[in-house]
């Protein structure tokens, strides 16, 4: 009498198990695994750049500033004009680069595609007689860790620059909003082009970031979202062209500043028709007080992050040394009011650490942070140089470098 319910229960369990074989969810998941691994096999039959899925590191759904830089760099590697000097830095260097050329040439500079300093090239020629091409990888928010991955990527090119001029400032070592090294747009993009597996784990300190990283490795579709998004984006644009009659979908007609204002959450997407720096029309360029922003930035310096970024600077110097790239560190000019916002002794500690590193690795450090060289009228705000300030910056820098025998050789390549 007691056996019957047990048998019945066993039969129920067995029937239930058999039912699971008919589960459409399990069938769907199996189909997903098949598709995922099928795509992986097809992809692996080619290379990162040339594969049957037609995925490419340069095919992205949103064209960030990093994208344009890389595109230009990759294009340059195939051209005769190969840069011998690389210029790195954050928006501080970026402002000087675009503004300097705008004043020097008297022409508007398209910041999306302007990655070579004509002013710098001509100044070097004038001071040393050598014709030296340069390429600037100066981007807003570029952290030192970003500069490291940029350098690592640059070294993968057949012919890489022989000299690196790297403009640094305390802000490049500390950012309160940065969750991890791997979270920046530059890192994410560099990851598409370069094998950064040696940094993968340390660049993702949190468990969630690590889990996400491994998921991307395990699941092909998850790891190639950007490539699949590009395909979707491409189709969506074609559809928009056909059905809505859009003509130039590659261009953004709505001004960047309005899109930025209205769509704060959007990933950055710049088209070639926007973002121009024009030569100043007035004697005194406008000054914007951004001290409130920097008060927030400097309020709580993340010591751990600062130390980590300093380690990346050390790595840059080591990597450069290993690959016979000469490094010139430039301590970027700041206004005294900006420095006064920093916690006590922070700036002097920063400079001391940079000096120690530079001395240890035998690299040149040019300190251009001088109120006499760069008075307040050379600034657009408390940290960024204005257009005339940008021109002045390159003039001072090249003059300094040309005066010294060693750095002059670095510029001209006489050391190589």
């Amino acid at each position: 009498m007691t056996v019957a319910p047990e048998i019945k229960k066993r039969e129920e369990v067995s029937a239930n198990r058999q039912d699971f074989l008919k589960s459409f969810v399990l069938l769907g998941l199996m189909a997903f695994l098949l598709v995922d691994n099928g795509l992986r096999l097809i992809y692996m039959s080619g290379t990162r750049e040339h594969n049957a899925l037609n995925f490419s590191p340069l095919k992205v759904s949103h064209r960030s500033w990093v994208y344009w830089n890389y595109k230009d760099l990759v294009d340059a590697s195939g051209s005769a004009q190969k840069p011998q000097i690389a210029i790195f830095g954050s928006s501080l260097m970026m402002a000087a680069l675009h503004g300097g050329d705008a004043v020097y040439t008297g022409l508007p500079q398209n910041v999306v595609i302007h990655h070579r300093s004509k002013l710098f090239k001509d100044l070097v020629k004038k001071q040393t007689g050598a014709t030296v091409d340069n390429f600037a990888f100066a981007l807003g928010g570029e952290m030192v860790s970003d500069a490291y991955v940029l350098l690592a990527q640059m070294l993968e090119q057949k012919e890489h620059p022989r000299c690196l001029i790297y403009g640094i400032a305390p802000r490049d070592f500390t950012d309160n909003t940065l969750p991890s090294v791997a979270s920046t747009e530059i890192y994410k993009y560099a990851e598409r082009l370069t094998d950064l597996s040696s940094l993968d784990m340390e660049a993702r300190p949190s468990l969630a970031a690590k889990a996400e990283y491994y998921l991307g490795k395990i699941c092909f579709i998850y790891g190639h979202r950007e490539d699949l998004l590009y395909i979707q984006h491409h189709w969506a644009q074609s559809l928009a062209k056909k059905l809505l009659g859009y003509k130039n979908v590659e261009l953004n007609i709505t001004p960047l500043h309005i899109r930025r204002q209205a769509f704060l959450e959007l990933p950055e997407d710049c088209a070639v028709n926007e973002g121009f720096v024009t030569p100043p029309k007035v004697e005194q360029e406008p000054y914007i007080d951004n001290t409130a922003e920097y008060r927030g930035r400097y309020r709580k310096i993340n010591a751990k992050q600062f130390a980590l970024q300093m380690q990346y600077l050390e790595r840059i110097l080591t990597l450069a040394q290993k690959n016979k790239i000469e490094v010139i560190l430039v301590n970027m000019p700041l206004t005294s009011e900006n420095i006064s916002l920093m916690p006590a002794n922070f700036y002097s500690d920063y400079l001391k650490q940079v000096q120690t590193l530079a001395k240890r690795d035998g690299c040149t450090l040019v300190d251009l942070n001088s109120a006499s060289l760069f008075p307040k009228n050379k600034f657009a705000d408390s940290v960024h140089l204005n257009n005339r300030g940008g021109k002045h910056f390159f003039e001072v820098l090249v003059k300094e470098l040309a005066q010294d025998v060693n750095t002059r050789k670095m510029l001209t390549g006489a050391n190589q």
Partner: protein, 502 residues
Amino acid sequence: MRPVVIIDKSQPRLLAVTLMLFNSLSYAFFLPLVFALFWLAKDKWRVWILLIASYVFYMSWKPAFILLIIALTLANYYLGFAIHKSQLHKKAWLTLAIVLNLATLAFFKYAYFFNSTLSAFLRTVGQPPTSLPFDIILPLGISFFAFEFIHYVVDIYRGHQPIKSLPAFALFASFFPTQIAGPIKRFQDFIPQFLAPAKLTVKSFDNGISLILLGLFKKVLIADNLSFFVQGGFSKPEIFSGLDLWVFAYAFAFQIYFDFSGYTDVARGSAMLFGYKVPVNFNLPYIATNISDFWHRWHISLSTWLRDYLFIPLGGSRGGKLLNYRNLLITMTLGGLWHGAAMHFLVWGVYHGVLLVLHKILQPIKAAVPLLKSAIDSLPGKVFSWLLTFHLICIGWVFFRAESNSLALTMLQRMLTLSPVYDNGSLTNAILPTITFPLIYPCILLILPVLLAGHLLCGYIAKHNLLERTPTFARAGFILLTLFCVIVFSPDKSPRFIYFQF
């Protein structure tokens, strides 16, 4: 765990927090783990496993606030018994229980609102404004579990038996799939499911996973992508044309629907994986042909709660037309305020109250005029009613979504102009058609009609029960496609569910 920044300046101070959201990777690990533990355990431990999991889920937000849930759970549990047992002081115990729940809700949710309203009044009479001597953090889900507790004590007062098992009662309020944003459950439906032995069936497994995937699809693919677009329009309405703003209002209508119904689907699907059913919250609200119909289809668990525990106690439809209208207005106004402690939510509630009253007034007129009745009941009449209802709802959403009433009025004023271009008449400033961005932006004008058509199609499918008749391979294809889309098209930054703030 995904960091979530909760920002709402009109609300109690909300924190940058780490929360296990349904659309986060941490939930993708958490749910299978709890699922495995639940089904591997013996029956008697399953409630405990879910209870612990639910508390862990809540503590992923802010651990200290678990004490609030536990305290309210214990208080309501014992007050339930007090109400049930007491002969003389039944009402007093009930009052105490309701006051306790409402006072907790009022303190956390409305203290800033009362203070700012008082300060505004004091300013107008030339007095210095007041300020709260402390910061208040709004506990997640408080509006939902406070309403579940009130429902419990009121129903005990009405004669239902209290729940004897404390863990089952604790789980009723804290059940993680419905913990943060409902649906608002009824204990009479829910508790018996805990007490009966749970059984995993293929049907509940398949339906559960399908609902979760469908919910994520709605949330991350549609609502999240729309949210970027909507954010632009509602934050800077002054830089958009009248027609642009209409499209933003339509987009928000779909965003909030797909966001909240997506959340509900994930909640219901997650519950189904444990063999439990939680109430349906939506029934294709945008096919409603009048405002009353809309409220039978939108956030059903809230509207039925408001009906049972506010509208009916106020007198409901008894006592004449005027009292009925008054009760409707009070119910909807408080319903609006429940969504958020801000004037624009209050206006949204009043707006819907007025629409419902107007609907009530028009009903007898329609019945008395045969020509009007036949016109409204004809196909063109129905299409007109549907369009009118949809647009009235969209106007309401402007108040709901805008950060203030003045911003909402600015938007509505501009929308009334129906201008296709920005003020200066230059086409280059007509922003909408020129934005290029994946998925939503180039095709927004195509996507919104598709969403509306899809909504109508879903109604047809549900009506004719077509899903049940779909072959297995087609359903498997649906799973494959949904999973693929959720993985590929989820934005990197997924905004939190809209209803989390309530």
